[in-house]
Symmetry: C2
Subunit: 299 residues, 2 copies
DNA sequence: TCATGGGTATACCTGGAAGGCATGGCCTGA
DNA sequence: TCAGGCCATGCCTTCCAGGTATACCCATGA
């Protein structure tokens, strides 16, 4: 048995709406005998008459009325499918799964770009998961995330593309009790032997290696008194007087007044906080996000 | 621009599911170059690439993933549309709008046939409207009802087809106070001058004419003391001692004990209570209902 | 009752598109 | 660097959608 084609549906709808083969043929731009044959073919494919032929035109059978509703809907759905495909290609439809390094979530540039993206692409479903840089890199490689905001991309994901959001650097976080005046160290070497609250080296190995290397160059190995897995923990421990910590300068807004951030010469070299994505994947939604990001960063 | 055809959708789905043009071509039973061309045509019709060609096969673009979902759905919907059309043609899907003469609603044969129909055609939406015979006939002619259960079809709708449910006749309803012994009339002529509660002649002109004619033949014109629009009203007025009434014998179950029904020789001629429908319309659902009706009546 | 006209079906033909075949180019992996 | 998949291109054949002419059917009205 021959297959039903959309042509059959288009013709059938035209005939049903026009009320006659003649008028339907005129509507679709073919001649009546050709249309009659196509309708007959459709009826054979469906397996039941859809029209009753009268000398005054055609009338729908019960099956025809049912099929007319369905055919009309299918035709409009095809049109909608095309529109959705085009919007998907333009990055205006779909989803964007992002990872964000938790300590950078509160940054204005992050919330700004998310807002800008939501404004330009309101129909893209945006999902944001807090993840460490290395976890993000792995998820992006596996296709489970479309991109993420992280630091130290060149260490954890050299094969992925990145667009810089900002440049950050490490500063020393130290206790600064209001009444008590404590001299801030100027050079790293002054901290030899001092107790440190350290990044969890397993979870943030890139920063770990960088900071260890800086201390080694300053001639000492830091005495690690505590380990913290995230920035608020580190800062909390500093505020509790447990020791010093190295934290990204951009996290200063979340420091209490009793914690003072001190820039050290040896830690002057900055590192990038980037939006990282798979440049090979060529996702239209990611392209849209990159555009939103560029305008936000340059503004 | 060429039109999209279902062939394109079938091919595209096959390719997407198979992961390569080669395998997709095998799946749909054509050779790979032919398939490649059809896919390209589809992409041109949609207006954006749906696949990325790799040497290992093909991968979906974002637009392709969107269109794949839609195309799959459209294809299954077409299948469902065909099924619905066939079920509509078989009278197993659709709606059946019936009118029922209110006094015949309580009859066992009516509820039996409705139940039988609902059992054989559970997916047909059944709507039942209480209507007088003449209203039913007009509504059926206008296509607002598919059929109805009425009396006096030959008077109100001679052009419509009918299938008899039962034969009824008129009897005299009269007051019969328990203690008081009243002689029942045997002949219509005995009722000359007696007060009658009469059918509303505007609403039930066929019965009106029949009963008037019988009285005229018996040599008198009934004295109409009251007019009632429905059977319960008539019976209620008889029970209230307002006079005599002619009611269909089949309505006896709804008479109180104080109302006695008396058969008169002149009213012996019976009339049909029929399921009435438009025999020209050839509705599958009505055919199903007729089948249910025939088995119910013969049982 | 017959002519007329609007509508549909049938027969036949033609052009174009779908599909088959052969082949070339490209990428990948051994 | 070669072999093997995979996709694209070019050409040919077949088949079918659509066009033309005409017959048929039925309702309407003179």
């Amino acid at each position: 048995m021959r297959q039903v084609e959309l042509r059959h549906l288009r013709y059938f709808v035209a005939v049903a709406e026009a009320g006659s083969m003649m008028a339907g043929a005129r509507a679709v731009g073919i001649v009546q005998p050709a249309l009659s044959r196509q309708i007959r073919e459709l009826e054979e494919a469906i397996g039941t008459p859809l029209l009753v032929r009268r000398s005054t035109g055609v009338a729908l059978t019960a099956a025809g009325a049912s099929f007319l509703r369905d055919a009309t809907r299918i035709l409009t759905e095809l049109q909608a499918s095309r529109d959705r495909a085009l919007r998907s290609a333009a990055g205006q439809l779909g989803e964007l799964r992002l990872g964000v390094l938790p300590n950078y979530f509160p940054l204005p540039v992050v919330s700004d770009v998310l807002k800008a993206f939501r404004d330009t692409c309101p129909d893209v479903m945006l999902s944001i998961a807090p993840r460490l840089s290395s976890e993000q890199a792995a998820a992006i490689a596996r296709g489970e995330l479309d991109g993420g905001i992280m630091a130290w991309r060149q260490d954890v994901a050299p094969h992925l593309s990145g667009l810089r959001l900002l440049r950050d650097r490490f500063v020393l976080a130290m206790l600064s009790t209001p009444g008590q005046r404590v001299r801030a160290p100027r050079r790293l070497a002054e901290l030899a032997g001092a107790p440190f609250i350290w990044f969890d080296p397993l979870r943030s190995s890139a920063q770990h290696r960088f900071l260890l290397e800086q201390c080694r160059r300053a001639g000492f190995t830091p005495r690690i008194a505590q380990v913290g897995s995230d920035i608020p923990t580190l800062i909390g421990l500093v505020a509790a007087g447990m020791g010093y910590a190295f934290v990204p300068e951009s996290t200063s807004p979340m420091c209490p007044r009793t914690v003072r951030l001190v820039a050290l010469d040896e830690l002057a070299s900055r590192f990038d906080v980037e939006f990282v994505y798979d440049g090979q994947a060529d996702s239209p939604v990611v392209r849209r996000f990159l555009a939103a990001l560029r305008t936000t960063v340059s503004a």
